[in-house]
């Protein structure tokens, strides 16, 4: 049994210890915004926030989130910072196939939440663990910098 907080709601769930957090979220709890790309912690598509920290859920065992606060983009839909990020991504054309997008947004969100005015290098480091094969990253980086500008203007 694992008890934890998912997107602000308390969850109590019977889960085998061999199940990853990713599979528990996607298969058992129907949170399909979290994607499965490699199951090795290498691509970042499965990124979630655990107590605010971005982590790859594919290499975390479900019982290990006992007592923790887990967030996916679903739980941040109305968050003002997340809204700015979405706006920026849309305006800059930073979404192509969309598979890396949820994980990318969470890494970007965690960055801007803690660092209001990141440099381009800091943005790249924040999303280093989120692989994208479609966009070449340029518009994603621009979007994150734009969102920073808008949420905390000079």
């Amino acid at each position: 049994m694992v008890n934890f907080d998912l997107n602000g709601a308390h969850i109590s769930f019977e889960v085998p210890t061999t199940m990853t957090l990713l599979d528990m979220l996607r298969i058992e709890l129907g949170v399909t915004s979290v994607k499965k790309g490699c199951e090795q912690g290498e691509c970042g598509a499965c990124t979630v926030l655990i107590d605010g920290y971005p982590m790859t859920s594919c290499i975390i065992l479900a019982p290990q989130v006992e007592g923790r606060h887990v967030y996916t983009i679903d739980g941040l839909a109305d968050d003002p910072l997340m809204k700015e990020l979405r706006e920026a991504f849309m305006e800059n054309g930073a979404v192509q196939c969309g598979f890396c997008t949820p994980g990318m947004l969470l890494s970007a969100y965690a960055l801007l939440r803690d660092n209001k005015r990141p440099s381009e290098e800091e943005v790249k480091t924040a999303i280093e663990g989120n692989i994208c094969r479609c966009t070449g990253y340029v518009t994603i980086i621009e979007s994150i910098l734009d969102a920073a500008e808008r949420i905390a203007p000079d």
Partner: protein, 290 residues
């Protein structure tokens, strides 16, 4: 990835509880962040049946400065190390190395204890700890003892830990005014395993190299020190020539292999380049000029 099967996950809230489990259960293996264990579970030689999660044990996490030493708990994450002013100040090589371990997601989860116990010859946190004279605290239910970190490693992916033992912590002296540096080469700028890495530690006395320590990774079955080279340069006046001499001498100490990430020849050659760069940076950090 083939599905994970055949193990139970135990999450003892206390250190004693964990050590008890390690003593009584067969095929028990500690796990913290799991960033090495979970992706390679199917290929693990030891085929653990019980994973003992150390993540709930508070005393195993954290960095403290005490009695002139810095103590690091094994479940301290790489992100915690990067954020630590104490580490940045007293062990800049470790601060720098931690930045190169994985991505933000991996650093938020992966631990220094895990990095050490995984015992890859390319582990980035090891060369900095080695040059800072780190010791490892090995504990079982019955007893605990400290060993020089170098002795922790037996071979590639092999430590000296007995089935009932865990790595309980690390310590190294906190000395002001020293300089240390970590250098590495990866196959891309984004996160990737080091093809070759090295760390250097110096203590300066004017323009004399009062103390010099060099550690090399990815060039032997385990990370190594280069005591022969260290002896050669210790006490000498620092100069470009001395740096070149030391770097070239390190190549002789290296015995790398070819693998998917790089060739032995490349690793040997790069050993000299990295040691040279590390000596420069460490010397500069110790307030020296060339």
């Amino acid at each position: 990835m083939k599905p994970l099967t055949g193990f139970s996950l135990l999450r003892p809230p206390t250190l004693v509880g964990a050590l008890e489990m390690m003593s009584t259960l067969e095929h028990a293996q500690p796990i913290a962040g799991g960033t090495d264990i979970i992706p390679t579970f199917r290929d693990l030689g030891s085929k653990p049946v019980h994973l003992i999660d150390l993540g709930l044990i508070e005393e195993l996490n954290g960095i403290i400065e005490e009695d002139g030493k810095i103590l690091i708990g094994p479940t301290t994450t790489h992100s915690q190390i990067i954020a630590s002013k104490v580490i940045e100040n007293f062990a800049p090589a470790l601060h720098d190395a931690s930045r190169w371990i994985g991505s933000v997601q991996i650093r938020n989860r992966g631990t220094i204890g895990g990095n050490l116990c995984n015992a890859s010859p390319a582990a980035d946190s090891v060369p900095p700890l080695l040059v800072h004279g780190a010791e490892a605290h090995i504990c079982s239910l019955e007893e605990g003892h400290w060993i020089p970190l170098l002795e922790l490693f037996k071979g590639p992916k092999m430590t000296v830990l007995e089935p009932n033992e865990i790595l309980m912590g690390l310590r190294f002296p906190a000395i002001a005014g020293i300089g240390s540096s970590f250098q590495r080469i990866g196959r891309r700028k984004g996160f990737t395993l080091s093809v070759v890495n090295a760390a250097v530690y110096v203590e300066r006395n004017g323009d004399e190299l009062k103390e010099a320590r060099i550690a090399l990774g990815s060039v032997a079955p385990t990370p190594i020190r280069a005591p022969g080279v260290e002896d050669k340069v210790r006490g000498k006046k620092m100069s470009e020539e001395l740096i070149d001499e030391a770097s070239a001498a390190c190549v002789e100490v290296a015995s790398p292999i070819d693998d998917v990430r790089g060739t032995a020849e490349y690793r040997k050659d790069m050993t000299a380049v990295l040691v040279k760069r590390a000596l420069h940076e460490a010397w500069r950090r110790a307030g020296g000029e060339l």
